[in-house]
Symmetry: C2
Subunit: 232 residues, 2 copies
DNA sequence: TAGGGCATGTGGTCTGACCACATCAAGTAG
DNA sequence: CTACTTGATGTGGTCAGACCACATGCCCTA
């Protein structure tokens, strides 16, 4: 077993045993190296991996943001991983979109009305109506979809859904330039968002799920991405 | 931007541009370091991250298995990440199970009869009937479920489903020790597998989906895991 | 009292060295 | 001529030690 994997194992055990909890600080790299009798290099490789997994965040200097602290950002980490695999052509973009539809439809159906996440979602829609530029619009759109997923109360689905979005974020940005009429599209998307939120809030889960599905597939279809398996 | 992130970016670009493809070899660490004018340390940290992402595999020595080659194993990588996040208590095991049900039900519904993956699944079921020990049984079970997911033809769903399973693999192993009667459970599981496969092969997607859902929830319920949201 | 400046401790990077390993080629003994 | 040994080569893995940039907080000075 390689040395850095040993360090990784040790840190994972600390977390599993509750010695290290969310927001907690890891020992300094030099201290860990000495404690585990390994070089700082190996410790750093382990930390780097954990950072890539979204489990820790490393900060220089001293004080509040310094040191290596335990965080919980599976979404961004999974997103980066998926993005790389899309780059290798092993994961087709169409499959990403299809999975998004699957997860978000489920989330819409299960979303509980009156959740704080839904209230935040409503505010986001207001901001999107205020006429921001395309980039801001997409960012707000992303947060709205994540909020919707969170309202279903399943952290794994939320994380995966966010990661799928993140994996093709740049790609989606490119797509908006293919749209014939952004203003018209924006207006349609906003109306669809309102309809989805209304369906969720009135307890029409099935309806919300269908609206979400057509909302997502509609966007990618308009932008020129044909899902391979859309009609199966 | 940190140096190793720069290296990461460079490698990702090589992949995106098709300069590096699946099975291809990265330049040696020393060569990359010189080419990018960075230290070997930084190159190694980048490679380590890619390895954790399941994008490359590093091998020592010389010859076929040597050097750093591009692979595509998103499943194991995502699994490790999820496992760590489960350890931080940020992702509840119940949510993992619930998501498994969601993805596998979908896959069962969409699975195409006559796929090579399904034939492999049938062979796996035969092996499970041969009466292996518990560990082997669980490994075969895992492969059967993955094969089922693959038959749906969505690589992202397959990868995520495999990762969910991997994230709680050890946990599931512990659970088997809680079972009152392993022989009886094993027999039931094998019968359910046959029923699922039969439903898929006869084109009864909806039926297969229901069977899969009860198959999974049934196992965890018997082993003592109560899904938080099972009945919503 | 208010300000500057240094001590401290963090992660980030670099250098150069050595190791284990696997292959392959050259040389040598049969 | 064959078969085996031996060394050269190149890979990733690890290590020790140094220096840097940065952020804080204490201490000393004006």
């Amino acid at each position: 077993m390689r040395t850095h994997e040993l360090v990784l194992q040790w840190i994972e055990k600390q977390i599993s045993d509750g010695e290290l909890t969310l927001g907690g600080r890891l020992p300094g790299e030099r201290a860990m190296a000495e404690q585990l009798q390994v070089s700082r290099t190996s410790v750093r490789e382990a930390v780097r991996i954990l950072e890539a997994m979204g489990v820790v965040r490393a900060g220089v200097g001293s004080g509040k943001d310094a040191g290596t602290v335990v965080i919980a950002e599976p979404g961004t980490a999974l997103g980066s991983t998926l993005r790389l695999h899309v780059a290798t052509r092993h994961l087709p973009v169409a499959d990403i979109v299809e999975t998004r539809v699957l997860l978000e439809s489920w989330a819409a159906k299960r979303a509980k009305a009156g959740t704080p996440a839904l209230e935040e979602g409503a505010e986001l829609l207001d901001e999107m109506d205020a006429g921001p530029d395309v980039g801001t619009f997409l960012a707000l759109d992303s947060r709205f979809h994540v909020a919707l997923a969170q309202a279903a109360g399943n952290a794994v689905v939320s994380a995966m859904m966010a990661s799928l979005r993140g994996a093709i974020e740049n790609y989606a940005g490119e797509l908006t330039r293919n749209l014939p009429n952004w203003e018209a599209t924006s207006m349609r998307l906003r109306a669809e968002h309102r309809a989805i939120l209304a369906a969720v809030n009135t307890g029409d889960g099935a309806g919300a799920a269908e609206l979400v599905a057509s909302h997502i597939t509609g966007f990618y279809a308009e932008a020129g991405v044909a899902p391979d398996h859309a009609e199966h």
